[in-house]
């Protein structure tokens, strides 16, 4: 199940892990993505805090984590090919996190609510 934040990040939950990325809506708004500033494996992320940035040609945009946890994996393909997010934001997640508090998911939107919020 995928949950969405107001700042246009998603977290796709699979068991105790969540794959976090930005939504298709966000990548369209940003235009060409030219750099992704990612945390490192074992870094902690906290719901509501920034964990990196996604950079368009003109500006850096903070990435806000929808949930708290530990970074298990970083999408290294984005280092040399940040434009993958423009091509497919849903498949090209940014970090994989082990959730420390699944109850935080209750604070997020489901897909229907998110789609309604951006229409």
């Amino acid at each position: 199940m995928t949950y969405f934040s107001e700042s246009h990040e998603y977290v796709r939950v699979e068991g105790e892990f969540g794959y976090i990325g930005i939504t298709d809506f966000a990548q369209k708004e940003l235009g060409n993505i030219v750099y992704v500033d990612m945390p490192e494996v074992d870094d902690e992320v906290t719901a509501g805090d920034d964990f990196g940035a996604v950079e368009s040609v003109k500006a850096a945009n903070d990435l806000i984590s929808p949930i708290s946890g530990i970074v298990i994996e970083v999408n290294e393909a984005l280092e040399d090919h940040p434009e993958l997010i423009n091509q497919d934001a849903n498949s090209n997640w940014i970090i994989k996190v082990k959730l420390s508090d699944p109850s935080e998911l209750e604070n997020l939107m489901d897909e229907e609510a998110y789609n309604a919020s951006i229409s």
Partner: protein, 388 residues
């Protein structure tokens, strides 16, 4: 002798055609005559200098590459056009302008600055010699009101007439290796013979307008100044020909940055002088006087305490305006403009740094929570392709 372009008779007709233009001036941002065209193309619009301007139509990278490889067209109608005419026009322009326009050949164009007495920059601009005692000053959109006030204020005591014609002119910039072909074949305006940094007037389409071989991209190109009606017509002809790509302000900035051109507000300002910006070659110190000459002569002699330098980063992290530059853990400057370049595969910055820093020095740029290593290099990251 050319007596200059007279558009006053067309003023009301133009504004009537764009009745919304007046409304928007009263309640919202100004709009250029091409606003509807941008909207039809689905351009992403943002306010800039009090105008709703197109930032991009498809993508900044695509538009940037279109200019470098083929031809792009920019709506730059927001820019300002100020005419200086009169018996002392040359004397007056030499007084407020850093470059030397003494005995300028007709239609020659000069780049330079207007300075405050303390040496800071009022604006950077182009001066076109349009007649024996007639000059067209093309100024940045964001500075039109300030510049016109400055010019008028300093014209007291000179036998000159100052006319702000910014609202009567619209402007296109057609830029790229195929620009000449596009202008000649799509518009039927011959321009092969037009030398770099010169202009001509052309009577065609029932109007007399100005064409110059100038631009802000580092590529060959032309700028056309005409009535709102004609500029819309020329835009339509260019796009219909399929020889040009519409380009927005987004790539206008990436293009100029790659070739080391300054942007007022970032690389020049009331606190950044041409000497600090490395642009003192546009300040003619053997002119008897100009406003600010004493201050910047002194600064040039003593050496400025800080100056603009290029920085090439080792990795892909992107430096942005305001990010700090460090050397041995100490802040030595600040980024004025930074980008991941599009025509070259590297991230670069221009920064205002301590003058002690030399080409080849290693520095670091603070980007959010980390610092990234780079080297001081020249400000031109990509070679210009002017037709000289």
């Amino acid at each position: 002798m050319n007596e200059g372009i007279k558009f006053n008779s067309k003023k009301n007709e133009n504004i009537e055609q764009y009745e919304n233009y007046k409304y928007y001036q009263l309640t919202m941002n100004k709009r250029t005559c091409l606003y509807d065209r941008h909207a039809q193309l689905g351009a992403f619009m943002q306010p800039f200098a009090g105008f709703d301007m197109p930032i991009q139509y498809t993508s900044i990278i695509e538009e940037h590459n279109a200019v470098r490889l083929h031809c792009g067209v920019f709506d730059v109608s927001h820019m300002g056009e100020v005419f200086v005419k009169g018996n002392e026009a040359e004397k007056f322009v030499n007084h407020i302008f850093t470059n030397d326009i003494t005995n300028a050949p007709l239609f020659q164009i000069y780049y330079g600055m207007m300075l405050y007495p303390e040496g800071g920059t009022v604006d950077d601009l182009l001066v076109y010699k349009m007649g024996n005692q007639e000059f067209l000053l093309v100024v940045n959109a964001a500075n039109i009101d300030k510049d016109v006030a400055w010019i008028k204020q300093n014209s007291e005591g000179f036998d000159v007439q100052i006319d702000d014609e910014s609202e009567n002119y619209s402007q296109l910039a057609i830029q790229g290796p195929e620009a000449e072909k596009a202008v000649e074949e799509a518009l039927g305006i011959p321009c092969h013979e037009l030398a770099f940094y010169t202009a001509k007037t052309r009577t065609q389409f029932g109007e007399t307008f100005i064409v110059s071989r100038t631009g802000y991209t580092g590529e060959d190109g032309f700028e056309i100044y005409a009535s709102h009606k004609l500029i819309v017509d020329l835009w339509d002809k260019l796009l219909d020909s399929k020889r040009v790509t519409p380009c927005g302000l987004g790539c206008r900035d990436t293009l100029r940055f790659e070739v080391g051109l300054p942007l007022y507000g970032d690389e020049l300002s009331d606190t950044i002088t041409p000497v600090m910006a490395g642009l003192s070659m546009f300040c003619k110190f053997d002119k008897p006087e100009f406003i600010g000459k004493d201050a910047i002569s002194k600064q040039k002699e003593e050496g400025p305490t800080s100056r603009l330098r290029g920085i090439e980063l080792e990795g892909n992290a992107i430096p942005r305006h305001g990010y700090k530059v460090l050397q041995d853990g100490k802040v030595v400057g600040e980024v004025t403009t930074g980008y991941k370049l599009i025509s070259v595969d590297k991230s670069c910055a221009v920064a205002l740094v301590d003058s002690s820093l030399k080409l080849g020095d290693k520095v670091e740029i603070q980007i959010r929570k980390k610092t990234f290593p780079g080297t001081i290099v020249k400000k031109k990251f990509y070679d210009k392709h002017y037709k000289k």
